[in-house]
């Protein structure tokens, strides 16, 4: 581990991005749109009553938190790792005494800071206008932090192992599109997972996608508690372990394959 080098990379990327922040603000704006659309759909549907036990104000709260969590867990580098491999950029990274994963990590960490500068004020303004209803307890606030951290790690590593398939197949990023679609459907974007019909709900609770996005939101807003909370963390941690193993195995074999065929 070369933490000193990794930290330098993060600082550099951050400095670089701050130079072009308006571009990243636009990107962040684009990512905010789908959750905001569903915020309006569901809060309108709820009207003065409730849908699936959630009131208008609770839908607003759910989606505003989801906007923040989505920005914090979205791993944009998953889309660029494949290109770096395909177009030979991996050579320069492999020559350094620093694991290339730091390059992606530095972009992620630097990116979050830049996006938050834009997303937090926008969310605050929306909250003032749309009046969310949320009761955050100390327990849910404390549980939210690890749930969010694990969600980010899971989403990052899951996308990273998928992207590493580029070592063998030229268009592995098609699988990333599938991942995004599944997060959209089963990860709590199109609807809170509790509102999904029977079998689909069970599928969404078993697959990793809910734990990349909806789970921390549900934790903060108190939708999952007690035994469900513990179970949720267990499933999330299990999927993270699976993603880590897949990442390590694919990374080792990928580099071996790469150095066998030449970049």
């Amino acid at each position: 581990m070369n933490l000193r080098g990794g930290w330098a990379l993060i600082k550099r990327t951050w400095a670089m991005w701050m130079q072009q922040r308006s571009f990243f603000f636009l990107l962040a704006f684009g990512w905010m749109i789908p959750p905001l659309v569903y915020l309006f759909v569901w809060s309108t549907a709820a009207g003065e009553a409730t849908v699936g036990g959630l009131s208008r104000g609770e839908f607003v709260a759910y989606y505003l938190v989801l906007v923040l969590v989505n920005q914090l867990t979205y791993s944009q580098t998953n889309w660029t790792v494949g290109d770096v491999i395909r177009y030979g950029g991996m050579n320069a990274l492999l020559l350094r005494p620093l694991s290339p994963v730091f390059d992606a990590l530095s972009t992620e960490i630097a990116g979050k800071v830049v996006y938050m500068i834009f997303v937090i004020p926008v969310t605050v303004v929306l909250a003032v206008i749309l009046r969310p209803e949320i009761q955050v307890t100390l327990t849910s606030a404390l549980a939210f932090i690890p749930a969010l951290a694990l969600a980010w790690a899971l989403r990052f590593l899951w996308g990273y192992w998928v992207a590493l398939l580029a070592f063998w197949a030229a268009r592995a990023d098609a699988l990333l599109t599938l991942q995004d679609a599944l997060i959209f459907l089963l990860g709590g974007q199109v609807a809170p997972t509790a509102l999904l019909p029977g079998l689909l709900r069970q599928v969404s609770w078993a697959l990793p996608f809910r734990y990349m996005l909806a789970f921390p939101v549900e934790v903060l807003s108190g939708q999952v508690q007690g035994a469900d909370l513990a179970l949720g963390f267990a499933v999330q941690a299990t999927w993270l372990a699976v993603a880590t193993i897949l990442f390590v195995v694919l990374w080792r074999n990928g580099v071996k394959h790469y150095s066998a065929v030449g970049g």
């Binding site: 330098a8 550099r12 030979g88 020559l95 005494p97």
Partner: protein, 330 residues
């Protein structure tokens, strides 16, 4: 002096998927792929001493870059062994990577949007160079390359030559013991090529860094490398002094003669036996003779022809190299 780079019977064979052109063939290749083995490097062996500057030459596709990639750890060899600074390169140990450097003429280490100084600082941190050392090395390199004014401009606006200067600084900031340079002067103008050559020679002399360099510009190799390794079709054809290569490959000399008295345009000049006319123009002749016969032939020419001017030369190195590239043997 001890050997820093030891290469024994190193080979690399690529498996390349192969298919005929056309739609039918591409559909067929979906189900059954055929492969062809391409031997990029075949059982090459050599050693390089500390501080040496060796030129890797050979035509495109000879296996030069493949060999450099194996030595820098980017490629696993198919067979054979190599030790650089006592490390096996392709194990890619961090301790090894910290002591080498590879500069690729067509790939960049620099970040486009920020001034080079910032890129250098990050590289310094990645290689674990202390700020004081970084500053000292940077000052020295910037001074040698005369690039003070470049340090605060974004790399995006640089010319090719300016960017190459930065690549060299980036590659030397951690003071590597071994440096691989792949086509460092590619696409540069003559002045910039000469500038970089002077820099490399001076830096090698000062720091004692071991350098393996590939280039298609023979001028680079002539100026920098006393020793050359010639690779062709993946095999090592020659390893030794550049001078010796010419002697071995081109066992002849060129005699340039200018004739007076309006002679030389016609064919009736009596030339000594074994002499070949390479060029003939307005009373000027270029003749090719065997090395051993050169003195006798010169004497004969001076006796028999109205010579105004005469010079005996070695054939240009480019011509020698071109001959090997085309004939494929030494």
């Amino acid at each position: 002096m001890d050997a820093q780079i030891v290469v024994r019977d190193l080979s690399k064979t690529y498996r390349v998927p192969e298919r005929a052109p056309g739609l039918a063939a591409s559909v067929k290749s979906l189900f059954r792929r055929t492969y062809r083995d391409v031997e990029a490097v075949r059982e090459i062996s050599f050693t390089v001493e500390a501080g040496e500057m060796v030129g890797f030459i050979g035509p495109n596709g000879a296996g030069k870059t493949t060999t450099l990639k194996m030595l820098s750890g980017l490629l696993h060899p198919t067979a054979g062994e190599a030790r650089v600074l006592e490390y096996r390169p392709w194990e890619r140990k961090q301790a090894y990577l910290r002591r080498i450097s590879m500069v690729l003429g067509n790939k960049s280490q620099m970040m486009w949007d920020i001034p080079p100084l910032d890129s250098f600082a990050v590289l310094g941190e990645i290689y674990g160079v202390s700020p004081a050392e970084q500053k000292q090395t940077l000052d020295e390199l910037v001074d040698l390359l005369e690039m003070e004014e470049l340090l605060s401009k974004p790399v995006r606006n640089f010319s090719l030559g300016e960017r190459m200067k930065c690549e060299l600084v980036a590659g030397l900031l951690h003071r590597p013991d071994v440096m691989y340079l792949d086509e460092p002067t590619l696409g540069l103008d003559v002045t910039m090529q000469a500038r970089l050559r002077r820099f490399l020679a001076e830096y090698n002399r000062r720091s004692g860094v071991t350098i393996i360099l590939t280039s298609h510009y023979m001028a680079d190799v002539v100026a920098l490398c006393e020793r050359v390794i010639l690779i062709h079709h993946g095999s090592l054809l020659y390893d030794g002094a550049l001078r010796g290569l010419a002697d071995r490959l081109a066992p002849f000399k060129l005699i340039r003669v200018s004739l007076g008295g309006g002679q030389g345009t016609d064919a009736e000049i009596a030339l000594p036996e074994g002499t070949e006319v390479v060029e003939r123009e307005n009373g000027r002749l270029v003749l090719r003779v065997g090395r051993a016969e050169a003195p006798a032939t010169t004497a004969r020419l001076l006796q028999t022809l109205p010579v105004v001017d005469l010079a005996v030369e070695d054939p240009p190195i480019e011509a020698v190299i071109d001959q090997i590239y085309q004939e494929g043997n030494v």
